[in-house]
C-alpha cells in the first residue's frame, strides 16, 4: 500500500491495485483517505507569522567566530 501511494509499483501492478481498490469496500476508502491526507499535508506550508531566522543564525555564527577568532575547525561530523 505504501509503495502504491508513492507510485512506485510500476504500471501493471499499480493498475491492478487500483482496480482492486475500486471494488473493495475496505481498501478503496483506506487508500482514498490516505491520498487525501497526503495532499492536505503537502499543502501545510510555512509559519505565517514567523519572521526569517536568517539574521539570528548569522549573528550567532559571527558571535561564535568573534569569540574563537577562527573559521571552520577540523571537527568532523559528516
Amino acid at each position: 500500500m505504501s509503495d502504491y501511494l508513492e507510485g512506485e509499483l510500476g504500471g501493471r501492478r499499480q493498475r491492478r491495485i487500483t482496480r482492486h481498490a475500486e471494488a473493495c469496500p475496505d481498501c478503496g476508502p483506506m487508500l482514498r483517505g490516505l491520498m487525501r491526507i497526503r495532499i492536505v499535508l503537502g499543502s501545510f506550508g510555512r509559519p505565517r507569522t514567523q519572521a526569517t531566522v536568517v539574521p539570528l543564525v548569522l549573528e550567532r555564527i559571527r558571535e561564535d567566530e568573534a569569540s574563537t577568532s577562527a573559521g571552520p575547525t577540523q571537527d568532523s561530523r559528516s
Binding site: 500500500m1 505504501s2 509503495d3 502504491y4 501511494l5 508513492e6 507510485g7 499499480q14 487500483t18 481498490a21 475500486e22 478503496g28 476508502p29 483506506m30 487508500l31 482514498r32 483517505g33 490516505l34 491520498m35 487525501r36 491526507i37 497526503r38 495532499i39 492536505v40 499535508l41 503537502g42 499543502s43 501545510f44 506550508g45 510555512r46 509559519p47 505565517r48 507569522t49 514567523q50 526569517t52 531566522v53 536568517v54 539570528l56 543564525v57 548569522l58 550567532r60 555564527i61 561564535d64 567566530e65 573559521g71 571552520p72 575547525t73 577540523q74 571537527d75 568532523s76 561530523r77 559528516s78
Partner: protein
Amino acid sequence: MIPAPADPPAPLAETPGCEAPHDDRPRRPHARATMTLDDQHLVAQAQDGDRAAFEELVRRHADRLHAVVLRIAGSNHEAEEVTQEAFLRAWRGLHGFKGDAQFFTWLYRIGVNEARRRAQRAPAPGVVTSLEEHPFEPRDPGPGPAGAAEHHDLRLALEGAVRALDPEYRTPLVLRDIEGLSTADAAEIMGLNQAAFKSRLHRARLAVRSAVDGYLPEDDT
C-alpha cells in the same frame, strides 16, 4: 473511483530561504540538482574560510530548516535554537563534510536529530500549542469555497494528529509528506535505510488517518 496517486508534495525549493509559500508550481529534480551544484561550490569556498559563502548557505536553508524543526520540536523558541545550533555546528564541522551527502541533507540531519532529541524530552504533544500560536500558511488556496470549510476542518485535525505523533513517527511524515523531500533524502536525514524509513512513514500515515477519520468525506471512510 480511485484516482492515480498524487504527485508528492513539492520538493525542497531551489533557494529555500527565498521561496514563495504559495508557489505550488511543480518542481522537478533538476531544480534540486542546480541547487546542489551551487551549494557544493559555496561549501568549497566556506571550507577555505570564506564566511560570506557560508552565510549564503544560511540564507538559502535557514528558514526552511526552521520550519522543519518547528514541526518536530513543537516550540518556536526551541526551533530557533535548534536552527542556530545546527548551522553553528555545520560551520564548525565544515572541514569534516566530505561531500558524500548533499549539504542540505547533512545540515538537516544535524538539525532534525537535535529537534527529535528535544521533542522526546518535551511535554506531551497537545500540551504544546506553538503551532497554533504560529499557524502555518497553506501553500495553496484550497479546493474552493464549496469544500473550503471541510478542507479547513480536516487540515486542523491533521495538524493536531501530526503533533500528537511520537517524534520518531512525526519526523518522517514532516520530511516526506509535508516538506516533500524524496524518500532517499528523508531516510538519509533520519539515518535510516529506505525500507525502515518507509515502514515508519506508513505507520505514521495510518496513525493520522485513524485520528482524522471523522473529518474525511464519507466516501473515504
